[in-house]
């Protein structure tokens, strides 16, 4: 069903049209929509709106906290630059993994998808360390002030999405190892990579708003 050829049928219908019919001359070829890609794009749109809401809530509360610590006192830039580098480079490795699978190079796929998961895990480890430091040393809890409220909510929901991405990749590893997904049907890998790119893109905005603007 998904590979229907609309062009052919509209062309056939067009051949029967009367010369004077209103519709002649304004036919256009409609794009064909792939099921998986369309569904994923819709899902990612909702994710984008969800994160926009959280980021907006963070942004309007910048500088509104009644007590400290402020973002400037609490957040450490070197650590987060390191974790961001991990996360952003993992977008490249997952592209490589997808390409590897498409070309039938399973070794490359496993190595690069494994590295993507590792980089994601490093990001999460960095975030965990950051949170531990914030809670134990800087005494910032979600209820401490508005900064804590919005920071933990925003970064926490993002970290949750990173975790989900790593789980999705673990499933991909398993199904490719079983041979259920291969060079012939690599679309699932592509769709997970779309999700991963969104998680990365959202992080770029979070980084800018939380670690640059509000700091």
């Amino acid at each position: 069903m998904s590979d229907q050829s609309i062009d052919a049928t509209t062309a056939a219908a067009g051949a029967d049209d009367n010369a004077g019919s209103r519709s002649t001359g304004r036919r256009w070829t409609e794009p064909t929509f792939d099921r998986g890609r369309t569904g994923m794009a819709c899902f990612l749109a909702t994710e984008g709106v969800f994160f926009s809401t959280l980021i907006l809530s963070y942004a309007i509360y910048i500088g509104q906290s009644k007590t400290g610590p402020t973002p400037r006192e609490a957040l450490s830039l070197p650590l987060v630059i390191g974790t961001s580098a991990c996360l952003l480079s993992s977008s490249l490795t997952i592209i490589g993994a997808h390409r590897g699978l498409r070309r039938g190079n399973l070794r490359r796929f496993f190595v690069l998808l494994g590295s993507t998961m590792l980089l994601g895990a490093l990001f999460l480890a960095g975030t965990s360390y950051e949170w531990w430091d914030l809670i134990v040393n800087k005494h910032l809890l979600p209820g401490t002030n508005l900064f804590g409220t919005t920071f933990y909510t925003l970064v926490g929901f993002h970290a949750f999405h990173v975790t989900m991405g790593i789980i999705a990749m673990a499933i991909l590893l398993a199904v490719v190892a079983r041979g259920w997904i291969s060079q012939k049907n690599p679309k699932a890998v592509e769709l997970v990579s779309w999700y991963w790119h969104l998680v990365d893109g959202v992080w770029v905005v979070i980084f800018t708003v939380v670690y640059v603007i509000s700091r």
Binding site: M1, S2, Q4, S5, I6, A8, T9, T10, A13, D16, D17, N18, S21, R22, S23, E30, T32, F33, D34, R35, T38, G39, C42, F43, A45, T46, E47, V49, F50, T53, L54, S57, I60, Y61, Q64, S65, K66, L141, P142, G143, N145, L146, G148, T149, T150, Y152, T153, F157
Partner: protein, 546 residues
């Protein structure tokens, strides 16, 4: 088409058991599950409305306690919006959309089942709160700071959040599915410009779901954190803003209004042409008006918030945008009336409800314009005038269209017609009861009666208007009892419908009633907006004229 009348059993020979219904991924069964579940919630929401009306029958009445009254109106609003109107529209969408576009199922059948069960789980979770003794009591829009732990100490608000979070995720899943199905599963030849208008409306409805629900989900997550781990999103004493909740809620809430009415417009756009025996007047303008409504509806949310005192410029912007949205809506009204004009009108029950829809919706639309005018809104905000307005839109609008859709598509879903006689009684009583219940609310509102009020004093001058409303509510009860009797009895006793009892033109009527699990033996090839007309009239097909 003149083959022997098909028997109902011929379509599906497998014996349905409970397990096949619980585990089904067939869009038609899921559609029916949606409808049955939403009718179940409709009974509960209806009973709640009767409790409200009974309590307001006399001044200083104490039929229920104020605490229970708060729970009842909160649950009435939440139920009717999230668990009745929306899932009913999704149910018809689920059942009809693949049939109308000539597909064998939705794009993601398992996601479809998941969406339904999430909705049902969320609704059940919400109603479970009654068993704990603490149903939500903060109003359907749950304004901060009333929802904070300090003012709402029991678990009712948490049930409200979690129930709607869960069912909201299901709704988003349904939105993803509707868009993907519409875009990627159409039969050969069914271009975007040949889709039935119900499909058009569902497509943009689903788009609104994708953009409107995530802000609500995020806001509810924030509220859950505020209440349970001590964050301060909406708590003023720590610098948080109660107003943020209002913005986020209505950013969802106003598109939600159109989520609940666009598919109803679609139903009307299907039923009016069939019962006027004419093609829809201005197909393109109906579709374009849908697009315009969808876009403008994302920019009108703060007209719910004039009373909080925003800047004058914001008031002007949101007021102007709200006036603007009346234009595409008005275009549709003209399209439907122009379709009827000069048509060979056939007032079967679906058409009765649809004409009722047009009349009632116009009244609701006009009071909407009144309310979008800032100075007037400031006078009647949060009064029964507002209650009257949105019931004319949601009940007089969406509910009338949905009732029309039940009578229109029941034969397709079950293979049997609903009783016309009972249907006419249902329509007449519903029309009388509806206007009796809701028109006096305009007057009570202008006289100053606030909404959600538990009771009122005898000297306020509201007694007669409340008694008329209560009388109307019980007329509506009779009307809906007739509807349920009709719905159940016709399943066994109704006249066998055949494939195409209304002599309609869209593809769902091209297959058996009820359709086989695979919908179509052969995927139809579409060449016009009325593919079934082309099949029935090979000597004068539509594609020669379109």
């Amino acid at each position: 088409m003149s083959a022997a009348e098909p028997s109902i059993e011929a379509a599906d020979s497998s014996y349905p058991t409970l397990l096949t219904w619980l585990s089904t991924v067939d869009h038609k069964r899921i559609g029916i599950l949606y409808l049955v579940a939403s009718l179940w919630f409709f009974i509960q929401g209806g009973i709640e409305s009767l409790v409200i009306r009974a309590q307001l029958w006399a001044p200083r009445a104490e039929l229920v306690s104020p605490e229970v009254y708060n729970q009842v109106y909160t649950m009435h609003g939440t139920t009717m919006i999230f668990l009745v109107v929306m899932p009913m529209l999704l149910g018809f969408g689920n059942y009809m959309l693949p049939l109308m576009i000539g597909a064998r199922d939705m794009a993601f059948p398992r996601l479809n089942a998941l969406s339904f069960w999430l909705f049902f789980l969320g609704g059940s979770l919400l109603y479970f709160s009654f068993l704990t003794g603490h149903a939500p009591d903060v109003g359907w829009f749950a304004y901060a700071p009333l929802t904070s732990k300090a003012f709402s100490r029991n678990l009712g608000t948490d049930y409200w959040i979690l129930g709607l979070l869960v069912s909201g995720i299901g709704t988003v899943g349904a939105g993803v599915n509707l868009i993907t199905t519409t875009l990627s599963m159409r039969a050969p030849g069914m271009t975007i410009g040949k889709m039935p208008l119900f499909v058009w409306m569902l497509l943009f409805n689903a788009g609104l779901i994708l953009f409107a629900f995530p802000p609500l989900t995020a806001a509810q997550a924030m509220l859950l954190l505020d209440r349970n781990i001590g964050t301060h999103f909406f708590e003023a004493q720590h610098g948080g803003m109660a107003l943020l909740w209002q913005h986020l809620f209505w950013f969802f809430g106003h598109p939600e209004v159109y989520i609940m009415v666009l598919p109803a417009f679609g139903m009307v756009s299907e039923i009016v042409p069939v019962f006027s025996r004419k093609v829809i007047f201005g197909y393109e303008s109906v579709a374009a008006a849908t697009v315009a409504i969808a876009f403008i509806s994302m920019g009108v949310w703060a007209h719910h918030m004039f009373a909080v005192g925003m800047s004058r410029w914001l008031d002007m912007f949101f007021s102007g945008a709200s006036f603007l949205i009346a234009v595409p809506t008005g275009i549709k009204i003209f399209n439907w009336i122009a379709t009827m004009y000069g048509g060979k009108l056939w007032f079967a029950t679906p058409m009765l409800f649809v004409t009722g829809f047009i009349a009632m919706f116009v009244i609701g639309g006009l009071t909407g314009i009144i309310l979008a005018t800032v100075p007037v809104d400031l006078q009647v905000t949060d009064s029964y005038f507002v209650v009257a307005h949105f019931h004319y839109v949601l009940f007089g609008g969406s509910m009338f269209a949905i009732m029309g859709a039940f009578y229109y598509w029941y034969p397709k879903m079950t293979g049997r017609m609903m009783s016309e006689r009972l249907g006419r009684w249902h329509f007449v009583l519903m029309m009388i009861g509806f206007n009796l219940a809701f028109f006096p609310m305009h007057i009570a509102g202008v006289l100053g009666m606030p909404r959600r009020v538990y009771t009122y004093s005898p000297g306020a001058g509201w007694t007669i208007w409340n008694q008329l409303s209560t009388a109307g509510a019980f007329v509506l009860l009779v009307a809906f009892v007739l509807f349920f009797v009709n719905l159940i009895m016709s399943y066994w006793r109704g006249r066998v419908a055949g494939n195409d009892p209304w002599d309609a033109w869209t593809l769902e009527w091209a297959t058996t009633s009820p359709p086989a699990s695979y919908n179509f033996e052969q995927i139809p090839i579409v060449r016009s907006r009325r593919p079934l007309w082309d099949l029935k009239h090979p000597e004068d097909p539509d594609w020669k004229h379109e």
